[in-house]
């Protein structure tokens, strides 16, 4: 597995905090969408690794 580094320091957290405080509904709506996309990618990758095709969804 590759070594990965993700910059997620104080400046990033300060920026996220500012976004939450400015417009919390938009921040969390975007976060929910991204979280579901990320979860779907991980799930597809895991199923693919196990040789199972993801179920087609409407």
């Amino acid at each position: 597995m590759d070594v990965r580094s993700r910059h997620n320091g104080d400046e990033d957290q300060r920026a996220r905090l500012a976004r939450i405080l400015r417009d919390p509904s938009t921040y969390f709506a975007h976060a929910r969408r991204c979280a579901h996309e990320q979860a779907r990618r991980l799930l597809d990758a895991r199923l693919g690794a196990d040789g199972v095709a993801p179920v087609e969804r409407s």
Partner: protein, 255 residues
């Protein structure tokens, strides 16, 4: 799954139907059946073909539905975990660090602003990371009085500010203050079916709510509530996350 096995899977049903039908048709032709024997064989063949092919197809369909449901549950759980940890708790933990970075015992305007920000983040996160839409979170701050009471001090979500004040000496006020004193949480699945003690029916848009204490071991600050418009919008499983947000708010307010 490889393209070949996927194609084989798609062709399985028509091949099975064709093979089963061909079996009894060949029997009809080879035996030169006619009249009632032909009719009986054809009807029996059709029924048996339907059973032989239909039952496995039905079973496969049910398995596919279960698999899709399981995938959706797995996706929702993973997304929720990321939302709570990455998008809500991490910025809140950073903010708590800024609160505790202030000099101990030194109260100033910036500390008050940071605590206000912590309250806003907790209110937003508690309402937004749970599964249902149109939830509302409310913070009721403890006012030592007298009389001792819990007063509305902020909300997030549906555009309807909380209007209840929980005053000591009233059944509902004593009940709410008791929850805070005992550090207990409350989940009410349906306020119509089983309201809390002292509950006044009418005047509430919501049907379900939960309440958790905002307190450290030594100090009480208030209660945090989440309410939803429909029965089922909140579940027991939502309580732990809200308790964590309430505990972290207490840490911020305790600085």
């Amino acid at each position: 799954m490889s393209a070949i096995s996927e194609r084989v899977g798609r062709l399985a049903a028509p091949v099975a139907v064709t093979a089963a039908t061909a079996a009894w048709l060949i029997g009809v032709v080879v035996n030169d059946l006619s009249g009632w024997s032909f009719g009986l064989t054809a009807a029996g063949g059709a029924v048996l073909t339907a059973l032989a092919v239909g039952l496995p197809l039905l079973s496969a369909h049910r398995a596919a539905v279960r698999a899709a449901t399981a995938e959706q549950i797995a996706e929702d759980a993973a997304a929720r975990m990321q939302l709570v940890l990455d998008d809500a708790l991490e910025p809140l933990a950073y903010l708590l660090g800024r609160v505790t970075d202030r000099a101990p015992g030194h109260r100033d305007r910036e500390l008050g602003e940071l605590q206000g920000q912590a309250k806003a983040v907790v209110l937003a996160a508690a309402a937004e990371v749970l599964a249902a839409d149109r939830l509302r979170s409310c913070y009721f701050a403890l006012d030592e009085g007298p009389p001792r009471q819990l007063v509305p001090a902020g909300f997030h979500g549906r555009a309807q500010a909380p209007g209840t004040t929980f005053v000591a000496g009233t059944p509902l006020g004593d009940y709410a203050l008791g929850l805070l004193r005992r550090r207990e949480d409350l989940f009410c699945p349906d306020v119509h079916a089983a309201p809390p003690p002292g509950w006044t029916p009418g005047g509430h848009a919501y049907r379900t709510f939960l309440a958790v204490p905002v307190a450290t071991e030594a100090r009480e600050f208030g209660i945090l509530t989440i309410d939803g418009l429909g029965v089922g919008d909140l579940t027991d499983a939502d309580v732990p996350a809200v308790r964590v947000f309430a505990r972290l708010l207490a840490v911020a307010l305790n600085a």
